[in-house]
Amino acid sequence: MARLTGKAAHDLLETIWRIRLFEERVAQLKRTVQAHGLIHLSIGGEGVAAAVCRQLRAEDAVYSGHRAHGHALAKGAAMPETMAELMGRVDGLCHGLGGSMHLVDRTHGFMGATGVVGGNLAMAVGDALCAQLQGGGRVAVVFFGDGAVQAGNFHESVNLASLWKLPVIFVCENNGMAEFTSREEHSNVGLVRDVVAPYGFDRATVDGSDVEAVWEAFGGFLRVGRRGRGPFLLECLTHRRRGHYEGDAQEYRDELADREWEQRDPLTRFQRVCLERRWVSGREVDRIQEAARAEVEAAVGFARASPMPSMELAQSLVYAS
């Protein structure tokens, strides 16, 4: 089991700060109608995004659901182009045609977010099929929430992956909520690891706000996956700080106590660990935070300076040539 080292931890902390500050800014941009459409924030999920994606190579494919900003950034999507995409600008990752739920950065292997729950589980399986046929040690990863587990597509995809022993890692962020309802109203099976147990492949359930635990569990699966084998399920128990989408009134659950959040916030917890283990100094933390803040502001400036796409451009991209 590969343990987390100082160098990797530094990179993770940086990534988590970048995602956190990006998302907080995006929330503000959404409120002021400068970021558009249905926006789902990764606040609370940064630890999983970083711990998983920062261990991957550009040629490993990552698919994600509608809550994908953190995954995209952690996988290497450039922040200015990501911000521009949320703001619908022509210099966005997808020229402003996709938006928050459809982020793609092919050069870094971020193969797509999707707005249909469970919509790309099988696509990750297909990527792993290609990886297996071609050899070379590539793996595919797909992020999804516990809400996707009840969709038929989940079972079809898991069955195919296990039947063909494909190098795909299913990463479930189980925050106990699907849109506005709690998991127990959706399923009699509380843990996703128990849903996939009959398929007989390796699975683990970890605390999603414990970055080190996610890093180690994912790293273990990754090592085996690189030998062309799989599949795997990594279930990360997380906590969704904000509503399902920005604008969600959240009347359906109790006020989140600040103290409770501090215990479940992956950023707070991991930063404390990094300081205790002397992986970073207090001054370094300030530097990381400041650099991330500046990077976010630069991204907003870049996006604001970019024009909107044209109908001609849109029309030219209906078909590939």
């Binding site: 997808c94 399986v125 046929l133 069955n159 209906v318």
Partner: protein
């Protein structure tokens, strides 16, 4: 598959050749990794094809009956069709979804439909319907080479016709129709099995001096508007013949497009030949009545011809 190792075949029973023997011999030559049986999971199998295509393979997936494409529609419509657009051009999905439809064989309501009209409504998909084996080979080559998702709709009644085919088929570009029979009096736009039926009707009509031009559309999307326009502008009359239910079928769309292309040239309303508005019945006599044929095409043509014929006043 011999020329391009990226081409793989997946679907139910494909390694054994399938119920219509369409993939017969492939697994023996290319192995069971490249010609891969799947469980009954149309949605995920379609998704696997999309993901594999986006990663660089050229999957050819088979859905045994077009009636079951319903199970794969989320993947086909919300993912495959839109990947190139939503990604701003970063992704492409070079996959072919082969399937078959048609009412002939007493399959009844859930195994006999013609659902291709749904698919032309989805920007990003291409839809091909060959009417004969030679065209099918050429069109399939082009479909596999196409960087877009292509739905390739075969017809169960046409599978076992014996034809002499070239050993090395030439690719037929998508979006180019074929004039199967030239004529000046009426344009018949037909797809799939109805091309053969329209040619039979044309023979019967020729005996009465009516020369029908039969155009095999081959491709529903992209559509060969130029060939359609040139023909209807010359003949002034059009009949669309397809096996699918008339209401909501391709005929309505083509009628509107013909108005755009040739309204001032029309001497009669555009006629449509298709199936009645009902699910496909089992009972043999009913299925045979249900299924459109040469006789219906002939009737539609005569109707168009008679629309503006001067009537000889009867002699008292």
């Amino acid at each position: 598959m011999r020329n391009d190792e990226r081409v793989i075949v997946i679907g139910e029973d494909v390694a054994e050749g399938g119920p219509f023997l369409a993939t017969k011999g492939l697994s023996e030559e290319f192995g069971r990794e490249r010609v891969r049986n799947t469980p009954i999971s149309e949605s995920a199998v379609c998704g696997v094809a999309i993901g594999a295509a986006q990663a660089g393979l050229r999957p050819v997936i088979e859905i045994m009956y077009i009636d079951f494409i319903t199970l794969a529609l989320d993947q086909l419509v919300n993912q495959a069709a839109k990947a190139h657009f939503m990604s701003g051009g970063q992704l492409s999905v070079p996959m072919v979804l082969r399937t078959q439809g048609g009412a002939s064989g007493r399959g009844a309501a859930q195994h006999s439909q013609s659902l291709e009209a749904w698919l032309i409504h989805i920007p990003g998909l291409k839809v091909v319907m060959p009417s004969n084996a030679i065209d099918a080979a050429g069109l399939l080559l082009s479909a596999i080479a196409d960087p877009n998702p292509v739905v390739f709709v075969e017809n169960k009644a046409l599978y076992f016709a014996k034809v002499q085919a070239p050993a090395d088929p030439e690719p037929i570009p998508l979006g180019r129709a074929r004039v199967a029979r030239a004529g000046d009096d009426v344009t018949v736009l037909a797809t799939s099995r109805m091309v053969g039926e329209s040619l039979k009707a044309a023979d019967a009509l020729a005996a009465d001096g009516i020369q029908a031009e039969v155009i095999d559309l081959r491709c529903l999307m992209p559509l060969d508007r130029d060939t359609i326009a040139a023909s209807v502008q010359r003949t002034g009359r059009a009949v669309v013949a397809h096996e699918a239910v008339t209401i909501g079928g391709l005929g309505g769309e083509l009628t509107a497009q013909i108005h755009e292309l040739a309204f001032d040239y029309l001497r009669a309303p555009v006629g449509r030949v298709g199936a009645p508005y009902m699910p496909v019945p089992l009972s043999p006599a009913l299925e045979d009545s249900y299924r459109p044929d040469a006789e219906l095409v002939e009737q539609a043509v005569r109707f168009a011809i008679e629309w503006d014929q001067p009537v000889e006043p009867s002699k008292l």
